[in-house]
């Protein structure tokens, strides 16, 4: 899928070769080179990721102030319809990107995790704003950063981030999807339990162990 930039110096020559090819009197190495430049060769995976990257369906997941800025993403000034991401789906079954826009309280954390689990593969997560990325302004008993209980692919800073910043986050995610989908927060799903905890984990009484052992079993 790589785009090969050609230098315009031999523009005239390429025009003549194209005319010969049309007339059918181009053979041998020239014909070989001519065809090779024209045909896009790609792998099935790359083609799929190209399609996935350009048609991301975000799930409407507005928690707090960032949700208002997420709505402006869809409105006129900054329009992510240009990148195919404006179809905000209501249910997690039909969406493949969760933009966690707002602060996640300890009462909401299990629900965010359950909805992320109910989304179908392939799925990604953007932590929009400082509160979901890192507890933001409120470092207190009631807030849980998204990284504590689910794998997040792109963190968009800001409180609330400008709509252009979230659009840049979505474009960065599209680039990640097309280049190397496996790349992501510690190989995507094996992420739980690998948060960097300095010293013994028991030192953080507020670490929310959202999923008890009985909730998960290997596929």
């Amino acid at each position: 899928m790589e785009v090969i930039r050609q230098d315009p110096s031999d523009f005239r020559a390429r025009g003549i070769r194209a005319r010969d090819a049309l007339r059918g009197d181009l053979e041998g190495a020239d014909l070989e080179k001519y065809v090779e430049e024209r045909v896009l060769t790609t792998t099935l995976d790359k083609a799929l990721n190209w399609a996935r990257g350009n048609a991301i369906f975000p799930a409407t997941f507005g928690l707090a102030c960032c949700a208002i800025e997420m709505m402006t993403l869809v409105a006129g000034h900054v329009d992510i319809a240009r990148f195919g991401a404006e179809a905000f789906r209501g249910s997690p079954r039909q969406s493949d990107l969760m933009i966690i826009s707002g602060r996640i309280s300890i009462k909401m954390a299990p629900i965010v995790r359950r909805i992320y689990d109910q989304m179908l593969e392939p799925k990604w997560a953007i932590a929009m704003g400082a509160c979901s990325s890192s507890m933001g302004v409120f470092n207190n008993y009631a807030i849980v950063p998204a990284d504590k209980f689910m794998p997040v692919d792109v963190h968009v800073p800001g409180c609330p981030p400008r709509p252009e910043a979230v659009m840049h986050g979505i474009l960065k995610l599209r680039q990640m999807i097309q280049d190397d989908p496996a790349m992501g927060w510690r190989d995507r799903y094996e992420a739980r339990g690998t948060e960097e905890v300095v010293g013994d984990p028991a030192a953080f009484p507020t670490a929310v162990n959202v999923l008890g052992p009985e909730d998960t079993e290997r596929a």
Partner: protein
């Protein structure tokens, strides 16, 4: 008889007790042939305007009982505010009701200024009024856009958010940030408005009424919108007053209570504007009251711009207000004041104050208790959505599920303010 499990039984204790016509209804009374379904219009729902969980008991399409369960975006803001010095509390307080951030800051600063007995200069009061009314229009724009979306008129979202972006450009011009601008400071406003602000603001005031006419033309003669709004879930004024409802919901029922007129603050009595009041208190009146308020706010902004007095944009009591930057280079006292304010913050005489103002959703009352130190001992924001949400149950009992969605849109709850 009903398929309500033990988990749901524990959730459904009797709700509001028998008082003034609100009959306490328990589930077992409805015999009915149909099975009762208890379902969550839960925290993650496109029509709940935030993370509000409505435990609704449905008999077919008719709602028999509804129980709002909140707390899903509880951020412990009031506890965080007790850990910060007075002037650092403003960014935290502004993130409570995230569509009326100027009003949160205004209520808090009003309370602290009352405690300090600090007099705000006239120009600062006018600038505050301009930004408060712009914020009210912006809040009504988001309400109108999302409510029309809930009822099905999708195009309105794009028009309303276009107007909202114009307002946010003005906010960005005067304070540098689109939302949570921290423009209102204890003692006045952060900075004076830049050169081009007045022209852009007047241009906006000229364009806004025409835009509001278009929005109304889109909706008032629309058969679907009329059927969804007219005579739908009315609630009389007596019940609303008992439930402590204020703001457009109360004015829609006919009670013209508006703190800008009743208890004028920040020189609101210099402007003449009218208070739109409804008659029946149904969904249509709630829409019409908020829609008419947009014109009144534009009128206030224009009068405030015309009568903008000269003078300082912030009080000059150096014990409370940071000295201007250029003075730091020259005078030593300014440097000492600056250092003292930035490190420890200003001390407030001990006492308790409740300072109510009129926001887009009702009465925002900020209660501040100070114990003489540089950190507030208790900050509580009486949020109108928190109290107005109690009126949802009497409104939508025995009405259709579709009317619940329209009523919730007209109630305009902001969950950040409810859960604080």
């Amino acid at each position: 008889m009903s398929s309500v499990s033990e988990y749901r039984q524990s959730e459904q204790a009797v709700d509001v007790a028998e008082a003034g016509g609100i009959v306490a209804q328990t589930l077992t009374e409805w015999g009915g042939d149909e099975e009762l379904l208890t379902i969550n219009l839960g925290p993650h729902h496109p029509a709940t305007h935030g993370v509000l969980r409505l435990l609704t008991t449905l008999e077919g399409e008719v709602i028999r009982d509804i129980k709002p369960i909140i707390g899903y975006v509880h951020t412990g803001i009031e506890k965080t505010a007790e850990q910060k010095s007075y002037w650092k509390v403003i960014p935290v307080i502004e993130r409570m009701d995230y569509l009326a951030y100027y009003f949160n800051a205004m209520a808090y600063c009003g309370a602290v200024e009352t405690l300090l007995e600090l007099e705000v200069p006239k120009r600062a009061q006018y600038l505050r009024v301009i930004h408060l009314e712009l914020c009210r229009i912006m809040s009504h724009m988001v309400w109108l856009g999302t409510s029309a979306l809930d009822v099905g008129a999708m195009s309105l979202l794009f028009y309303c958010f276009r107007e909202r972006d114009n307002i946010l450009d003005l906010f960005e011009m005067s304070s540098g940030q689109r939302m949570h601008t921290r423009y209102i400071q204890v003692g006045g406003v952060m900075e004076d408005i830049p050169k081009g602000f007045e022209e852009k603001c007047r241009a906006f005031c000229k364009r806004m009424p025409k835009a509001a006419d278009d929005f109304n033309a889109l909706l008032t003669r629309n058969e679907i919108f009329l059927n969804r709004m007219r005579n739908v879930t009315p609630l009389d004024e007596k019940t609303l007053l008992e439930l402590g409802v204020t703001g457009p919901l109360l004015r829609a029922a006919g009670n013209p209570w508006d703190l800008r007129k009743a208890q004028p603050y920040s020189s609101y009595d210099d402007f003449d504007f009218k208070i739109p009041v409804g008659t029946k208190g149904d969904n249509w009146d709630r829409y019409a009251v908020r829609w008419a308020e947009i014109y009144e706010s534009v009128k206030i902004i224009e009068q405030a711009l015309d009568g903008l007095p000269e003078g300082p944009h912030i009080a000059d009591d150096r014990k409370v207000v940071l000295p201007p930057r250029h003075e730091l280079a020259t005078s030593m006292e300014a440097l000492i004041h600056h250092f003292k304010l930035v490190t420890e913050g200003f001390r407030v005489p001990p006492g308790e104050v409740y300072y109510p103002i009129e926001g887009p959703r009702g009465e925002y009352g900020c209660f501040v208790r100070s114990d003489g130190s540089s950190k507030p001992a208790r900050v509580h924001m009486r949020d109108p959505s928190f109290v107005n949400l109690q009126a949802l149950a009497p409104m939508v009992r025995d009405s259709y599920l579709a009317d619940l969605i329209a009523t919730l849109a007209m109630l305009d709850p902001i969950l950040g303010g409810i859960d604080r």
